[in-house]
């Protein structure tokens, strides 16, 4: 798993809260602030995993830039892991 790189770069608490709330099926569903903080961490790990795995894929193909095809190759396993 990717170690957290920089504590400063992360999703905003408010963004994650609104994001999750917008996807809830029922309006009465709420989310506790600690749960939001954990989801901020979870989403950050998800993005970092996506990025680092794509980077590794690009590295194995000897490419200097990470491109969409690298991400496409790691996507199925990424989704199975989350």
């Amino acid at each position: 798993m990717a170690e957290q790189q920089d504590p400063e770069i992360s999703f905003k608490k408010e963004t994650v809260k609104k994001l999750l709330s917008s996807f809830f099926r029922e309006d009465k569903t709420k989310i506790s602030s600690d749960a939001v903080l954990l989801m901020v961490e979870m989403l950050k790990v998800f993005v970092q995993e996506a990025a680092v795995r794509s980077q590794k894929q690009a590295e194995s193909e000897d490419c200097d830039q990470v491109d969409i095809e690298h991400f496409e190759k790691i996507l199925p396993q990424l989704l199975l892991d989350f």
């Binding site: 770069i9 600690d34 749960a35 954990l38 680092v52 690009a58 830039q65 892991d81």
Partner: protein, 119 residues
């Protein structure tokens, strides 16, 4: 979906895109391998849709526990598929509890120490 809701979604998507871009930039600099704009957009879109899945799961977990509020327990359950992720989330959750303990030394503390002594 109304026009307003649609706009809110677009704004949230843009916010996700921005943060994904920053995280990728950082990793790109650290490992000397840059991300193309297309990859960043794809990761952002995937994250957005994954969020949809997470939210629906969390809601279902909370409902199953006969609650209307999603708690940290539900998030822990959402992270069950990967052992490493699950441990990471558990640790983060404990960190949050520690912070809480420092702030308020009320009845919640005795319950938590009880849990710790059991472990």
């Amino acid at each position: 979906m109304s026009v307003d809701e649609h706009e809110t979604q677009q704004r949230l998507k843009a916010a996700v895109h921005y943060t994904v871009g920053q995280l990728c930039q950082k990793l790109g600099d650290d490992h000397r391998r840059e991300f193309s704009r297309q990859v960043i957009a794809a990761i952002a879109e995937t994250t957005f849709r994954q969020c949809d899945i997470f939210a629906k799961d969390l809601e279902a977990f909370a409902r199953h526990a006969k609650r209307n509020t999603v708690s940290t327990e539900d998030v822990k359950l959402a992270a069950r598929r990967s052992t490493a992720l699950s441990i990471y989330i558990q640790n983060k959750s404990e960190e949050l509890n520690q912070d809480l303990k420092k702030k308020s030394t009320g009845k919640k503390k005795s319950r938590e120490t009880e849990e710790e002594s059991r472990e």
